[in-house]
Symmetry: C2
Subunit: 317 residues, 2 copies
């Protein structure tokens, strides 16, 4: 198993990326080999300083970096030697089994869609967020921002992708799916929600429970919540801001601590044909380590094979 990591992506790269690699290698028992993509000159002293087992990683030099605010398509085109471009090249050519970056999100999305392609049957890839719940369990909300306008069929596909992720990565059996809405009964909501409800209800791949409301997002009523990326993104950023408030006001609470979304690492881009993980720009060592571990789990669980099988079934049904 070879996991590729963009060492130049994120606000604190490459230092935090190196620390993340160290944390992962120290804490996770695995024979995964890490392919560290970045500026060799910048990486070498940091990697030496970290005293890592050199058999555990390979450095692949990249001479360019795509900045956080660069135009994704333009940057990918003009910077073929960037760490993100090289990462996707390696993933496309099966030199690595997963690719992780906390760099330019747009470039990661464009690279994932155009160089890796979507799984057959998937209309749109999706990104998600973990939802901490008071009872200690974790839920999943998707989409959280890359699909601002959706059709009902998109939400159904997100529900399938989220269910498989919840089952194979988060360990939830028969994950309960809810539709984010503004009322409990079928028939409530905006036109999208009204049209999506019956499709979720009739889909044999889903354990659909019904509508959930804003007040249910952090409850354990359901395991997977689907919505379009506009509302999902507002929910995620609002939850992050509540955590910021709690920190700023010095509120010490075990549950509120778990709203530190950084600890969950990044989000997989579900729906693309290889494991791709996108991190927050502010990723620190723990986030990098968690993302490497997530890549490992995605490979080991054969999540993408399960997704491919589900979408074949969906298409035939």
């Amino acid at each position: 198993m070879r996991i590729g990591l963009d060492m130049m992506g994120g606000d604190y790269a490459p230092a935090e990326a190196v620390k993340g690699v160290q944390l992962f290698l120290d804490s996770v028992a695995t024979d995964a080999h890490l392919v560290l993509i970045g500026d060799e000159q910048a990486l070498t002293p940091l990697l030496s300083g970290a005293k890592l087992d050199q058999s555990r990683y390979t450095v692949v030099h990249s001479s360019q970096v795509i900045g956080m605010n660069e135009h994704p398509t333009k940057a990918l085109k003009e910077k073929p030697q960037s760490s993100i471009s090289i990462g996707f090249y390696l993933l496309q050519n099966k030199k690595i089994d997963a690719f992780i970056s906390a760099g330019n999100t747009g470039a990661m999305m464009v690279g994932a869609i155009y160089s890796i392609k979507l799984i057959e049957g998937v209309q749109r890839p999706t990104i998600s967020t973990i939802l901490p719940r008071e009872n200690g369990t974790l839920g999943l909300l998707l989409d959280v921002g890359i699909n601002a306008d959706c059709k009902p069929e998109n939400l159904v596909q997100f529900a399938i992708l989220g269910s498989l992720y919840s089952q194979y990565i988060m360990g939830t059996s028969a994950p309960k799916v809810g539709l984010l809405n503004i009322g409990e009964e079928e028939g409530k909501g905006n036109l999208l929600a009204q049209a999506t409800y019956p499709l979720l209800k009739e889909n044999p791949l889903l354990n659909f429970i019904g509508n959930v409301e804003g007040r249910d997002i952090f409850k354990d009523t359901v395991d997977v919540i689907v919505c379009e990326g506009f509302t999902g993104n507002v929910v995620l950023k609002m939850a992050e801001s509540f955590h910021d408030v709690a920190v700023r006001r010095n509120i010490k609470d075990e549950y509120f601590n778990r709203f530190d979304f950084e600890q969950y690492g990044g989000t997989p881009v579900l729906g693309v044909a290889e494991p791709v993980i996108i991190g927050h720009g502010i990723s620190g060592a723990r986030a990098f380590s968690n993302m490497i571990n997530l890549a490992k789990q995605m490979i080991e669980s054969k999540l993408l094979d399960k997704i491919k099988e589900s979408f074949v079934v969906t298409n035939e049904s």
Copy 2:
């Protein structure tokens, strides 16, 4: 000034409604006369027990009640002697200057729209929520649920209605308006947000600042945030649930306390031609008192005249 109050609406009516009347009369210096609409038999002992100055109120008997889960249009039609039906009758016939109820929200909306009518030029009425901010000020978010699907022009109207409310009721001069979105720059967001941005920017009645994101909702970046009612409703219910969590987890914090939305009373139905205020079903004495006070402010400030003037200007421009 005569303020009409549905004494039978809400989970704790009429007892909490009577306590709210008492709290209002004890705490607010005003010559407002209260018109208390409800079952005389139920009200008389409660009002006597509260030892209120009888010159301050009149009881109008209603023999029917619209339940919280009744179908709005059907209930209004079949129960002309209900407290809500009578309230709208009195408001329509200028016997009262404002009508308040914590009862069936749908029936309140239908009554407001069909018996009171919209202000000329207003396409849709809107409901809002107060946003507590860390620096002690209050923001306003609208729509929070009755307009699940919106056109760009609807959001522009909500922005105008919200700005006037912020200015004349909340005391903010030249309220800053933000568009709830999932990116900061113009051009970001879903199709609705993309189309709404330029309309807000060019509208001479608005002090439009630009996009705000989920993380900005409880900041004082802007005074009025506009969005369609789907996202707004999710935001409001999620914020309420955070307060519930804080209470449940015994987190004592002055700011989090202010997320007890009940304390703000109800929301005005902005856009209708007379002051109509809808309360939460769970309204207690303080919420009732605050709603009566809000009705008083809406009448005293001549908010609806300001709205009428603004919409005349809008139409002519």
